[in-house]
């Protein structure tokens, strides 16, 4: 059974574990994919989650999950309000608010009058009682339609896929949080300096 690629065989990029065809003798200096500069180690991405709104929980979860699926090492540091994402007492009830979000549109309004779906919702609406709950339900429904899991389930998925997650020690002490409340995927409560060490060589994304 062959384990080397036949001549001309096109194979998707599966990362460093893929069997690559040996470069032909005498062509080592020729410019090719194998001579292109490569990163020193495996790719690594570190996210800092500082916000606890529902819509701010998803960027790191979705991108982090995608990165894990691409064989990238993923670290996520939850700090300040971002700790609500990994706190099992709060992460099932994260909320989404219209307030201070001028990009808030309602796709359903387009059925009332075409073009209305692009209108920015009046900011005062966000302050009405019950509006945050309504907006949250609407966003959750839209996410579910796209088959995006809710936050606790998403964390389970990330943990299974090998994400490294940490809670910020300063916030932890400040907010009097309990380790027992953390999602089991959280590996530890660490200081900012610890995170700086862990994220060495990583591409860092602040959310």
């Amino acid at each position: 059974m062959t384990t080397t690629l036949p001549e001309g065989f096109i194979i998707p990029d599966f990362g460093p574990t893929t069997t690559r065809r040996e470069p032909e003798a005498g062509t080592a200096a020729a410019p090719s994919a194998s001579t292109a500069p490569v990163p020193a180690g495996p790719r690594k991405i570190a996210f800092i989650c500082s916000k606890g709104n529902l819509d701010m929980a998803y960027p790191a979860l979705i991108m982090g999950n995608a990165a894990l699926g691409e064989g990238v090492e993923v670290h996520i540091f939850f700090t300040f309000w971002g700790l609500d994402i990994v706190n099992m007492k709060t992460n099932h009830k994260l909320q989404f608010t219209l307030a201070a979000n001028t990009a808030m549109h309602m796709p359903d309004l387009g059925r009332l009058r075409p073009g209305l779906e692009h209108a920015s919702m009046p900011q005062a609406l966000g302050n009405l009682p019950g509006m945050t709950g309504y907006a949250t339900r609407m966003m959750k429904r839209m996410m579910a339609q796209e088959d995006v899991p809710d936050v606790p389930e998403f964390l389970d998925l990330m943990q299974a896929a090998g994400a490294h997650m940490y809670a910020c020690k300063l916030t932890f002490d400040m907010m009097k949080l309990l380790e027992a409340d953390m999602h089991p995927g959280v590996e530890g409560v660490i200081s900012a300096a610890d995170f700086i060490e862990i994220s060495e060589g990583a591409q860092v994304i602040f959310v």
Binding site: M1, T2, L5, F9, I10, P12, L157, A160
Partner: protein, 104 residues
Amino acid sequence: MPTNQLNGRTFEVDAEGFFTKRDEWDEALAADLAPLIGIELDEAHLAPLRFMREDSKKTGVTPTLRRMQTVGGFQVKELFDLYPGKPAKKMAWLAGLPKPVGCV
């Protein structure tokens, strides 16, 4: 469309190397492809591939890892163990399916 040849079989692929015609695939071909990415295709490796074939026949798209868990009953962690690195892409390729496009 480019074509790949392996052990006397010819199959059409896209620019990246993913299959474009699902009928050009069978399990014997998968067994020949697997060593190219360092995988020995046993029953544990085959089970998710079979699910992907069945599921994509119904939906028309390559299932995502999450769908393989929620619908297929496979644990994401196991899939990462079976196909380390890029499990969704490796499985899609070995199952003779297009590259998965779902975000989650």
